[in-house]
Symmetry: C2
Subunit: 253 residues, 2 copies
């Protein structure tokens, strides 16, 4: 067992709480650094994609890393994650949820860094510009395991060339995919990966991309329509070369 500091500072038990707080020395103990890292996930082209940034400094110079940053002393973990994502993706209003906290002592060679990982979801349409190119740099996620087995994943660029991930970010990404797969069935997060109006086929495609397997069309349609989470817009697809499908909207009730 490692040698650690005592849990509580030397006490002066007969003071009031107010006196105690005023005399409390917050710098008395060694403390780890705390960061947030954000996994922004997109479903497109039959795969999951995530926002990565190329490291311009040591360590892991040239590797690809999740957008992240230190947690400010006055901000909550959620707002730190929101801030990091707004800065790196240039957009706001994503679905954002805490994922897991990674704290292996040797996960960063500089010093002890504990990172609270978050994952964010958005429709791929929000990140594609007019020219059909990504507006930001996205990497394709390759999941080497089935179901909810979990474990590290690998990433490639749009041409399928492998990218090297920094630190333990392959594990963090894998945890995000595992979480997404696990919550898909019983939650409504799949809708976060779609634009406001979508067809049942698009919804099924998102489910299939996330799960990495095909689904039964009939059963999927029935279940979704019976779920109460779909609201018909009355509109239909346009210009699709076949019978246009009805467009639905996500309904929370």
């Amino acid at each position: 067992m490692p040698d650690i500091k005592p849990e509580t500072p030397p006490e002066t038990p007969n003071t009031t709480e107010k006196d105690f707080l005023e005399s409390y020395d917050a710098t008395a103990f060694d403390r780890p650094s705390v960061t947030v890292d954000v996994v922004l996930l997109i479903a497109a082209k039959d795969a999951l994609w995530t926002l990565l940034v190329e490291r311009q400094e040591h360590p892991c110079l040239g590797c690809w890393a999740l957008p992240g940053g230190f947690v400010g002393l006055e901000e909550s973990l959620d707002s730190a994650a929101t801030r990091v994502l707004a800065k790196k993706a240039g957009l706001e209003g994503f679905f954002l949820e805490q994922l897991y906290t990674f704290g292996r002592p040797d996960r960063d060679p500089r010093t002890r860094v504990i990172t609270v990982a978050y994952y964010a979801l958005t429709a791929s349409e929000r990140l594609i510009g007019q020219n059909r190119e990504w507006k930001i740099e996205l990497a394709r996620i390759v999941v080497p395991w089935d179901g909810e087995a979990g474990g590290a994943v690998t990433v490639t660029d749009a041409d399928g060339e492998p990218l090297e991930l920094a630190f333990d970010h392959a594990e963090i990404l894998g945890t995000a995919v595992q979480r997404l797969r696990g919550k898909l069935d019983y939650s409504q997060i799949a809708f976060q990966l779609l634009p406001e109006k979508f067809t049942l086929r698009q919804l099924q495609a998102v489910h299939e991309t996330v799960l990495g397997r095909t689904l039964n069309k009939d059963s999927f349609r029935r279940r979704q329509l019976a779920s109460g989470h779909l609201e018909a817009t009355g509109e239909r697809e346009r210009q699709v070369g076949y019978r246009p499908a009805a467009l639905y909207r996500f309904a929370k009730a």
Copy 2:
């Protein structure tokens, strides 16, 4: 948005990674304190119970708190949680899993404290002494919400007298109950709340206690026996005043 330090230290980009690491100053930034808090859960007497300690110091003097402690600079989060639990419960070998990380800036009035919460499970038999009394101090958890709604819970002593919880520990406890309820169906964690050999009725009682509702006996038996996770020991209950039930053992395969 809070005013925070820059994300990276002043750079010297033309050095090697080794040089960089040697010159890196880990103390250059303000850092929060990081603790682990552990929710040890027991199912007994038709309720969930958890290990709490009475605070002997400010703040929240006299309140009840989850066992916790600072994370040492050289230990992993998991081992910090294991260490805290071994010290407070005097036992080892519990099921232990990371729960959630709580980091509201004002959750501890002393200074910024981010806590990585864990939950642990064990059979109530392990914590009951020869005299049928708890060997350690356990509080009864009262869950004011149904299903997996989530939210804070309250706690009482064994006589039903309310206990005041410190900091945001009511929320942490609620998150633990919510997680346990959520994982009960699709995981094997219920077995962690039972002794090595148990009857189907005991298994059902644990499920019902965790979920806070009754379950269909026939369906429960069928599903459990079909799950492949039960191994008959060939033994039966003894001295029970009615037909003794078969004893099973948890089988991972």
